[in-house]
């Protein structure tokens, strides 16, 4: 039964991907890409990767669709037909390249351990330690969270910095001059009574859910990144309904920029404090007299850092894109 679901989801993924190649309407392509993200999230659930599924659903189907749609509102919806159809040799070339790469990969899979085998090197070499000892070494049941925040906590620090870099990049690239914000805004949805009331009910719920995901990450799927995205989505919803100006009154530019930096600093300073207490960078055992309590504290703090940075960078990115599109709309 499980393998039936497996095959169905894989074939739906292939169908969606082929549809994306063929469709010219970028709006539809974006929606299909969102569906692709959601399908792969379902596949991840099937593969027991609940944390990953959660993130992929939030990112692939949520944030990235939203960003592409905002961009499309500025750049136009349709892909233009190629200007020079007769001399366009690129599809053939691309097909050859793709076939060669794919053939090499398929060649490479032939010596791989079969799918799902329990005695493959991936299952027997490094991982057993995490599964057997993390309960005593770290003391939280979600092994993914303990590897993410402690065993490979430095990778996660890198991940937070990547997000921060993206925020800086977007700001450096398309930040509008904040001095003159458009006063009159068009196409506000605040005259939608139903929408407004339902959203007002939902926004606090979304925020509560985000907090739950943030602090429950040690016991089940979830953690700073997912929580940050959900938290940001509450603000994004607010901005979509009541306009950017209103949303900026709640969280102004300076504040979110400050927060995005503070999240990274929180993560980094946990590492530095461990160093000052005599351990290595990010060695949470040195945060408290009891190593397990130290690990718990460290994980709590770094996940909080991740959550703060992710939420504020997502807000920054969305607000910056929207402000740009409104400014552009003014220019027309």
């Amino acid at each position: 039964m499980e393998s039936f679901v497996h095959v169905v989801i894989l074939s739906m993924l292939v169908t969606t991907a082929i549809a994306i190649v063929r469709v010219k309407d970028l709006f539809a392509v974006t929606m299909l890409a969102g569906i692709y993200g959601l399908l792969s999230a379902s596949f991840f659930v099937l593969m027991d990767a609940h944390d990953v599924a959660f993130t992929e659903a939030a990112v692939g189907a949520g944030i990235s669709t939203l960003l592409v749609l905002t961009t499309l509102s500025m750049t136009g919806r349709f892909e233009k037909a190629s200007v020079k159809p007769q001399t366009d040799y690129r599809p053939v070339l691309a097909l050859v390249l793709v076939t060669v790469t794919g053939a090499l990969l398929i060649y490479g899979t032939q010596d791989m351990p079969g799918f799902g085998t329990a005695d493959a090197p991936v299952q027997t070499h490094v991982v057993p330690r995490y599964l057997n000892d993390s309960a005593t070494e770290i003391g939280i049941p979600n092994v993914v969270a303990s590897i993410l925040a402690s065993y490979r906590g430095y990778d996660t620090f890198g991940e937070v910095v990547v997000i921060f870099t993206a925020g800086i990049g977007v700001l450096a690239m398309i930040m509008s001059n904040t001095t003159k914000m458009p006063v009159v805004q068009t196409a506000l949805m605040s005259d939608h009574v139903v929408l407004r009331i339902v959203s007002k009910m939902l926004i606090p719920l979304i925020m509560m859910f985000a907090l739950y995901v943030q602090f429950h990450g040690e016991y089940g799927p979830g953690g700073g990144f997912q929580a940050g995205v959900i938290f940001a989505s509450a603000f994004i919803l607010y901005a979509m309904l009541f306009g950017l100006t209103a949303a900026r009154k709640v969280v102004n530019n300076t504040l979110v920029q400050l927060l995005s930096a503070l999240g990274v600093l929180l993560y980094g300073s946990v590492g530095v404090v461990a160093m000052i207490n005599g351990g290595n960078f990010l060695d949470y055992n040195f945060l408290s007299d009891d190593p397990v309590a130290g690990q718990m504290l460290g994980i709590l703090l770094v996940e909080l850092g991740v959550g703060i940075t992710v939420a504020s960078v997502m807000i920054i990115i969305f607000f910056t894109f929207t402000a740009r599109s409104q400014k552009e709309g003014e220019g027309d």
Binding site: V14, V68, I106, T109, P141, M173, G220
Partner: protein, 117 residues
């Protein structure tokens, strides 16, 4: 699920290559970025498939369960997903700027305008 063998990987490779094809072949910059996302997501699926054990469960420790799927690949892919969205966001920001200064997001038209200059 035994009969699946390597079939699973092959489908994933096909997915990867479709994404790769979109990146190389499409003329529209936004579609290129979407292709990049498809390409990366498919690589993520490959990683996660590598960590699955038949009959295993999600790696959240609980009494009475002995077989867990590999949590390490999950951690790696969590990081990689974040990297992916960061790249997409930055790419879209550049596309917005390109649209403002070139007036188009089609690759051949940009080339044409650069040649004129």
């Amino acid at each position: 699920m035994e009969f699946l063998g390597l079939f699973n990987y092959w489908v994933v490779i096909v997915l990867m290559m479709i994404g790769f094809y979109i990146v190389i072949c499409s003329n529209n910059l936004i579609k290129k970025l979407i292709g990049l996302t498809i390409f990366q997501t498919s690589v993520f699926i490959m990683y996660i498939s590598m960590g699955k054990i038949t009959g295993g469960t999600a790696p959240v420790l609980a009494d009475g369960i002995t077989l867990y799927s590999n949590p390490l690949t999950h951690v790696l892919i969590l990081t990689a997903i974040v990297v992916g969205i960061a790249t997409t966001a930055l790419g879209l920001a550049i596309v917005v700027r390109i649209h403002e200064s070139y007036g188009t997001v089609e690759e051949d038209e940009i080339h044409a305008k650069d040649k004129q200059a």
